[in-house]
Amino acid sequence: MMIFLAVLVPLLPLASGLIIGLFGNYLGNRSHQVGVPALVTACLSSLWLLYAVSTAGPIHIVLQPSSGGPHNWLAFSLYIDRLSAVMMVLITGVSTIIHLYSINYLQGERGYARFYALLGLMTFVILSLVSSANLFMLFVFWQLLSWMLYLLLAYNFGHPPAVRFAFKTLIVHRVGDVAFLAGILLSYSLFGTLEFSQLFARAAEAEILLPLWPGGRPMISAVTVITLCIFVGAMAKSAQFPLHVWLPDTMDTPTPVSALMHAGIVNAGGFLLNRLAPLYGLSPTTLHVVFAIGALTVVLGAGMMLIQNDIKKTLGFSTMAQMGYMVMECGLGAFALAIFHLIAHGVFKATLFLNAGHVIQASRHEPKRPVADHIEEAVSFSRTTWITGVSVTLLLPLIILLLAHGMLAIPLQDAQAAVIFLFFAWVTASQAMFSLYRLNAASWKVSGLMLLALLLVIFIYLWVAETFTYFLYPEPGVAHEYFQVAALPGQLFDGLVLVIAGMIVLGWGYLYTNIRGQRSLFPEWVASLRPQFYVLFMNRLYADQFYSWAGKGIIRFAQRLDHSLGGWRL
């Protein structure tokens, strides 16, 4: 029964996509009558599968066995453990909602059937990706995902910006794909297998060192090189800096596509890191790089989000920042937390995008939209709310430092995990505080909400997320091991917490003086930074211009080469 379910879940969207693709002309505006039932069934089946896998253990289904010998990489098999099953529930759930939403949203569109066909095929590709049992199969679907995404983004193929940005997305993703391929080639040549279980076991057996330069020294761990190459693939899919440029420009697609992309496709990077967690757990260097890239992406994504004036672009940059968090969590060894994060993010981001579609539709009919509520922003300063915000956001860093130095004993399953979780709980809580303050500063209710939000965030992180960690990694010591490998040096960790705490305090200070019209607390150059950052973020760090310049440069060089060869060119 479990095997039947495991095969049925990806097959249903595939069948739906193929049927609609082949008979689209006949089905027309009734295409959803094929797609929706298929996805609802797939969603229910994946829920059942999750239950079955949780109680009876993982399933391994060999679809095409390896022939052994020199071609043992050519094998197709499904491996569904708790991680895959959770992802399958998320994917089929989000896809079902998008199928349902699009019935009315895209009704009457010329490409209605094409949209449903692509949606079904895309769902199949992601489901197959998350249930792959080896790197080869995962890479097959990883590449197909890049291509399917390109086709979905080019849905409005008559609209030049949509086509241009779809192309840009494809190029960025292919860069990631090629890096991923390099990682696969290296891992196969060194370990002789692409099957996950064998690969992890062989990589853990003995450390292989590779020369960084042809001379022989310095040497670098082979696992580090492999994981870094594969991480570039994850960076492209999850829009990590500097491969983030595709994500914010993909808003010319229909809103359901945006929802699917932001709630599902960008999570592929997080899934990949989780699936290969045993490999990543062998390389602290890679994990530190992952952490740094994630942290950088969070800061830049959030910065760019703040200055957007387009609802979908705001959400796009928000996704980039959230993916940064997710990757950062992986870099800290909190792999399961990253999955928890991506599920939570997927659900809320899909909701926001689908709602954004309504807002955009409404604003087309209502000239007064968006409602000019900025007048309400000029609220009077409330000392109580401000003090609550400052103290509440500073409470957690204190607990973190005390816990990190063993001065506080919290009865959790894993003290290391508690530190990481608290760190994220604090960052999340700080964001909530700032948002609440900005919404309505002068209110007792806000102060109460701040406290409630803090408690809620701590509860979720400490209990729900930790429970989830031990759900995904039930073997004793596994999650703990990842935390240990990823642990930053003690002083660096303390320093990071202090720097971020300092920045948040300064933020509150800036808020205080700004609202009261006092700038005396900060020197003039601090105030002048704001417009500079504004311009920088408005221009998206000039990353797009840089890539455009580089791309045009290559084409110019090629044309010059072509031209300069003149009579000799053939």
Binding site: G68, G69, P70, F136, L144, F167, L170, A182, L185, D562
Partner: protein, 441 residues
């Protein structure tokens, strides 16, 4: 019986078919097309049935013969008759006959048949030279050099002989600096010839290299390795800068085909992955060139610097073109992907620098092919195109069959590849005998 049919009847049938076509059907292009299809089908039967009955092991040249015949058949099937139909069909049959002769012949006979192809190409370029086209003239010069090399190779001994043989092979399976013959062949000739040449010429070059492999000195392998790397980069860059579809495809073929040259020069052998890759690459470019012919028949030369938006009016064409581009950028489920993976994973070790260049070549394909697709299919539709129609049934069928072939070759079961591996060892046969490499797929 098998030897007789494969070595004598198979090359003779297309030559005979061309002669009969010229004599009886020159003024009836539609009937000439049907006749050419019949000739290709008959030749296919002549090649297949005796081997099948004799249960002889499959060989690379057996595979290449089928590849050429399938490409010829499907190219002609998808061709829509025009003023050049008779001459292009006639030339296709002649080239097919000579090509089969190269594959079937031994040392000297192969060289003579290849000289025949070069000579016929010179005549074809003379017939289709244009004042504004410099390319045919350069190709004619190169072909003359190629002919000279082939003739010299018949009279000298090794190692000069090897060099003299590699030069014409690098012309048909394009490598720097003699890629001009191939580029001109797929971009300057009319009708069915360009897509057919995309399969025929590299197959002949590949076959020639198989026979030369055991005697190529280490130094020459090193030289080939460097030239292959340079050709891959050069082809990719030139493909990126083209505003003509045929030239883009020619350079893309050169860039991606150089990967096989590189692979052969590194491994010093012909692995099954390389054979499948060659089949996949030639069929992909063949399919895209057939599509290019369909567009030219309807709209003339399409300038790739602007978007044409043909997806609005040609859904069938768009779908098939999209699938060919999917195959060309090396995506599953098509042959190019699996063969490339097989080649790369089969390498025991290679330098990081070389690997980066090869992966860069692979990546560049994801740049110029999708860009080509976007310019042809996407964007706003030009008002002058509105009256055009989608593909005819025969055009559609030929492209669909080419796609099916692309999937079939690439998704062959893994034990086929394993069997091929064990057979490859026999490729190290002596050069003098020029024995076919066993390829037990």
């Amino acid at each position: 019986m098998e030897w007789w049919s494969g070595h004598i009847v198979a090359p003779a049938l297309p030559l005979l078919g061309a002669a009969l076509g010229i004599a009886l059907l020159w003024a009836k292009p539609q009937w000439f097309k049907i006749w050419a299809l019949v000739v290709f089908a008959l030749t296919g039967l002549v090649v297949t049935v005796p081997s099948w009955m004799a249960e002889s092991p499959l060989t690379i040249s057996y595979f290449l013969r089928h590849l050429i015949l399938a490409a010829g058949f499907l190219t002609i099937l998808g061709h829509h008759p025009d003023k050049d139909t008779s001459i292009s069909l006639c030339l296709t049959l002649l080239f097919a006959g000579l090509g089969l002769g190269v594959l079937a012949g031994q040392d000297r006979e192969s060289s003579i048949f290849l000289s025949g192809i070069f000579g016929l190409l010179i005549l074809a370029f003379m017939r289709y030279r244009r004042q504004e086209w410099e390319i045919p003239w350069k190709a004619i010069s190169l072909l003359t050099v190629g002919l000279f090399s082939l003739l010299v190779s018949l009279t000298v001994s090794e190692p000069v002989r090897i060099i003299m043989l590699i030069i014409p092979l690098a012309m048909v399976w394009p490598l720097l600096p003699v890629q001009g013959v191939f580029v001109a062949s797929v971009s300057c000739l009319p009708g069915t010839l360009p897509p057919f040449f995309a399969v025929l010429l590299p197959s002949l070059g590949f076959h020639g290299i198989i026979n030369l492999l055991p005697v190529i000195p280490e130094g020459v392998f090193y030289l080939l390795w460097m030239i292959a790397i340079a050709s891959a980069l050069y082809g990719s860059l030139l493909a990126l800068s083209q505003d003509s579809m045929d030239l883009l495809l020619a350079y893309a073929h050169m860039a991606l085909g150089s990967i096989i040259w590189w692979y052969v020069s590194v491994t010093h052998s012909i692995e099954p992955g390389a054979v499948v890759y060659l089949g996949g690459l030639t069929l992909v470019i063949c399919g895209l060139l057939v599509a290019s012919q369909h567009l030219r028949a309807r709209f003339g030369h399409l300038d790739l610097t602007i978007s044409h938006g043909l997806a609005h009016i040609m859904p069938w064409f768009s779908m098939l073109f999209l699938l060919f581009i999917t195959a060309a950028v090396g995506l599953p489920i098509f042959t190019l992907f699996s063969a490339f993976m097989e080649m790369m994973l089969g390498l025991s070790s290679t330098g990081a620098g070389t690997l980066i260049i090869i992966l860069l070549t692979w990546l560049m394909a994801s740049w110029y092919f999708p860009r080509l697709m976007q310019q042809v299919l996407f964007g706003r539709l030009s008002p002058s195109f509105k009256a055009s129609h989608d593909l005819h049934l025969d055009e559609r069928v030929s492209l669909i069959l080419l796609l099916i072939l692309l999937v079939m070759i690439g998704s062959a079961p893994s034990h086929w590849f394993l069997a091929a591996d064990t057979a490859v060892a026999t490729a190290q046969s002596s050069f003098g005998i020029l024995q076919d490499t066993l390829w037990k797929r």
